[in-house]
Amino acid sequence: MKRNRMKVDIASILVLLFAAGAQVTPAQESHIGGITGEATRGRHLYRRYCVGCHGPLGDGRGENAPWVDPKPRDFVTGTFKCRSTPSGELPTDEDLFKSVTRGLVNSNMPPWLPLTEQQRADLVAYVKTFSSRFREEKPSAPVEVPSEPAADQQSIQRGSELYQKMNCWSCHGKEGHGDGPSAQTLVDNRGYPIPPFDFSAGTRFKCGESNQDLYRILMTGLDGTPMPSSSSALTPAQTWDLVHYLRALQINAKYSKASSPPRTGGSVALNKQLVRRPEHADLF
């Protein structure tokens, strides 16, 4: 009699535990090359590595957030800086994977290389559960990056004229030092001050370091920040001219050699390129 009751109890505990797990993590997947990330697995990793800054609700209000600048990303709005998709669109799974892998330079977000690719893919899947947009919308096709023309004197000169015409100097300054007349007024979408990129500083960009990355940044903009998308304003040739001019402003850049070979396809293969110099390696 008693034994029977115990059996029932054990069964009900198992059912309840299963229900608890299922309730907490909505199903969500990520697809990175051949890897499929699972939100249920990503949740455990998130609770261990990400929750301190991004918070248990994914709203960027973790317990470290008050001491972090720039502020941790709020995943609930589904707005991301580093995308391959047009402004206002969701990022692709691969875009998120790249951000986790690369980290965001000049922020507290380190490159998460100590985690395996599978683990990073699982994290991407879990991060997508915080915003309903990932269930309602699909990101549109990534912006195409056509092959790069020669970076000659004429291209740089045309780029310099575009830098004027597009009012890039208003924020980034006449010589790209990040000291334009509007630089001091800039805030992000949560109202926190955000400085424009200083091209003379010699650091990488937030969303990569190659010429192709810079092309993509100009085309997509950095959503959630004052940096707009130029996709409807510039032709591909003009965008390359602007890339060449911006490179010319980077007098202290130490990685121009590494950035010259164009990046080709291959999602997971990008790791090697991304990881050359983890600037937060000491964190691990």
Partner: protein, 260 residues
């Protein structure tokens, strides 16, 4: 044996407590509920011949500071358009405190009825390094057309809470940008290149909204009989709410008074 059973019951109780813990993405769930409620709107009703009107005026009383001069020195192209400095349009009043650029709208009472957006686009212009209109009302999913009439580049950067956030640069002479917003919200719009440029795009699920004119007046037309909450929103003074019961063919006159 008895002790073991007790432990098992304890474990069961813990499991129940665990399963009752709210799931982590509660805020995203809230947003999702909001959007699915929006989608659940039933088919449209025609207003019939009984529709009435809610009209009135919005005023502000009390000390108002004089409008500030806008310094456009950051962009010589803007400076050239305004030989005499432009004044801030945050608070625009006429005699008796009549207040311009207040959005008056039904905030509650329309229910789940859905309304087709108007075919013609809502037009938001960048003119003289300023937004025209400063406050634009539009229906959800109505086409929004953004025009740059200036000899300089602007970036159009709406900063919504519930809609998609985008940010696009529009150089002089480019064709209009077509966009839309799908969820109800009053969205601040900024040009980061010209930090003095401030505008608002108010998005509604229904057509019962109006922006007050220079004389502070507004008209909400073709409103079917019913009980409504009417709100008046101003970018500086905030929100006022009044309840109104409208009968068939009736015109109700309301007065909103901000007392900052």
């Amino acid at each position: 044996m008895g002790t073991k059973t007790r432990y098992l019951h304890l474990a069961a109780a813990t499991a129940i407590a665990l399963s009752a813990t709210p799931g982590s993405p509660s805020r995203s769930a809230a947003i999702e509920r909001k959007s699915s409620a929006a989608k659940a709107a039933s088919s449209g009703h025609s207003e019939g011949h009984e529709a009435g009107t809610v009209s009135g005026t919005v005023r502000v009383i009390g000390a108002q500071t004089a409008a500030a001069r806008i310094n456009m020195a950051a962009d010589p192209a803007c400076l050239r358009i305004h030989p005499t400095p432009m004044m801030s349009e945050e608070v625009v009043t006429e005699a008796n405190g009549a207040l311009k650029n207040v959005i008056v709208y039904i905030s509650n009472g329309v229910g789940n009825r859905s309304f087709d957006p108007p075919k013609e686009p809502a037009v938001f212009e960048q003119k003289g390094c300023s937004y025209s209109p400063r406050v634009l009302g539009m229906q959800a999913s109505q086409s929004l057309q953004i025009v740059n009439l200036d000899p300089t580049s602007h970036n159009i950067h709406p900063v919504p809470q519930n809609n998609r956030e985008w940010n696009i640069i529009q150089p002089p002479g480019s064709s209009p940008i077509a966009e839309t917003f799908t969820r109800e919200e009053i969205i601040p719009v900024r040009c980061n290149v010209h930090p003095w440029m401030k505008g608002y795009i108010a998005v509604f699920k229904h057509p019962y909204f109006a922006i007050t004119k220079e004389d502070g007046t507004f008209d909400l037309k073709d409103v079917p009989p019913g009980e409504y909450m009417i709100q008046a929103w101003h970018e500086k003074y905030g929100v006022l709410t009044q309840k109104v019961t409208l009968e068939g063919n009736q015109t109700k006159v309301l007065e909103f008074v901000f007392k900052p």
